[in-house]
């Protein structure tokens, strides 16, 4: 009888705990705390935090290859490229391209912000010795796009996926803190007061044609972006065509919510002590922050550049909205504009570069993938 009992004890996880695992629980608890108490991107950080905790439980085998539950979510959801594109389907259905179509030149602000991604990529590789693939994954954090970061990481640097995702979502939550100082330094009070000219009304036909046109252009140019971009655009088509409201609503609500659940858990589960407790991780977080800051800066600089070349001036704060944290970045731009002039209502204008930035980030990720796979 003693034998049975002692062998039972050996099946418990307690005996196999390591300090590393307990440390990872702490990380998980912190993320869950931030999600609940501070409302930091709770839709992602809560399941990620939980995934971290349960993946660091010995003998539970949730991430055991072929058999683990969370391993299966990861393998069939993320590695098989299913979940991130489905998230984009939902995002496309939620996105209104009207403000961009009303003033198409704003699209270049979405491009400008991606320069920051490449600067971070370059720095990560040259200054800190990350491999090209790792550097690209770190750089794309500056794109402020969770699913794209996860997608790229799963293809180029899966061992960093969890860390990069946590960095990306954390900094997205911190956009109201990260972006204003950069915006203040790079713009003058006078520039911030610039009022945007009235936007033209965009018709339903244009908004319906855009996803078709967009998917053709981008996927022909960067075929590697196809999984994300095609799903994004079909979601947008669902929204704009007005004849598939059931599909549109499902994409925006049920589908998006369901796949978000299946995204967060496995992402967190990839963060075990081996992956996370390395000095690389600090560098990743620092570089990720740098990428965000750089992207904010390059977006604004491109806006200022555009002002030099055209008669109608745009408010350079809009450049910061090229960082595709939708709609947080647009909100931050709006608030800054209101601070300079309380009659300045930049929100809808800022949505233009904000959504263009999503296309920009997916394009940049596709290019990285094309050149580094």
């Amino acid at each position: 009888m003693i034998e049975e009992f002692s062998s039972l004890i050996y099946t418990t996880g307690f005996l196999y705990l390591t300090p590393g695992m307990i440390f990872m629980w702490l990380i998980g608890f912190i993320l869950i705390y931030l999600a609940i108490a501070k409302a930091y991107e709770p839709l992602l950080l809560l399941p990620i935090g939980f995934g971290i905790i349960v993946a660091n439980l010995p003998l539970a085998g949730l991430m055991a290859p072929d058999t683990g539950l969370l391993w299966k979510f990861y393998e069939y959801g993320i590695h098989w490229e299913i979940i991130p594109p489905l998230i984009f389907l939902g995002l496309g259905a939620l996105t209104d391209f009207g403000p961009l179509l009303a003033r198409p030149s704003l699209i270049f602000l979405g491009a400008g912000a991606q320069i920051g991604v490449y600067i971070a990529f370059f720095s990560a590789h040259l200054l800190l010795g990350f491999s090209l693939q790792e550097a690209a994954t770190i750089g794309i954090i500056g794109g402020a796009d969770g699913p794209t970061t996860i997608f790229l990481a799963s293809k180029l640097a899966p061992h960093m996926l969890g860390t990069c995702a946590v960095a990306a979502y954390s900094y997205m939550a911190l956009v109201p803190i990260i972006m204003p100082p950069v915006m203040k330094i790079l713009t003058t009070e006078k520039e911030r007061k610039i009022l945007m000219p009235k936007a033209r009304k965009v018709g339903r036909l244009e908004k319906t044609l855009f996803p078709l046109v967009g998917v053709l252009v981008i996927v022909l140019l960067v075929p590697a972006s196809a999984p994300l971009m095609s799903m994004f655009m079909v979601g947008n088509l669902f929204r704009e065509c007005k004849v598939v409201e059931r599909l549109n609503l499902a994409a925006q609500n049920e589908l998006l919510n369901i796949v978000t659940i299946f995204l967060g858990l496995p992402v967190g589960a990839t963060m075990n002590a081996q992956n996370f407790l390395r000095k690389d991780v600090i560098f990743i977080f620092v570089l990720g922050l740098f990428a965000f800051i750089a992207s904010t800066g390059t977006g604004i600089i491109v806006a200022k550049g555009m002002n030099l070349l055209s008669k109608t001036k745009i408010n350079p704060l809009l450049g910061a909205a090229g960082v595709s944290a939708v709609p947080m970045a647009a909100r931050v731009v709006h608030k800054m504009g209101q601070k300079a002039d309380k009659k300045n209502y930049l929100l809808m204008y800022a949505m233009g570069p904000n959504v263009a930035g999503v296309i920009g980030t997916v394009t940049a990720a596709g290019i990285f993938l094309t050149m580094l796979k």
């Binding site: 608030k335 009659k343 209502y345």
Partner: protein, 73 residues
Amino acid sequence: MQQQMVAPMLGKVIQVNFSVGDRVEEDDEAMVIEAMKMETPIFVPCDGVVGQINVKIGDNVEEDDVLAVIETE
């Protein structure tokens, strides 16, 4: 003389700070609209008396919708 107070952007009216007949001054905070989970105040365009209010709390407005009319002497 009348002056229209128009919506500067689309959103939902969540607060109305005056009533018909109130005396108002330019730049008083007249209403608050909400868009993208953010509240934005709308200001009175000129001194005068509130002649007409066209919206109530909960209404969705588009850019350039006339929210209220201010009578100036």
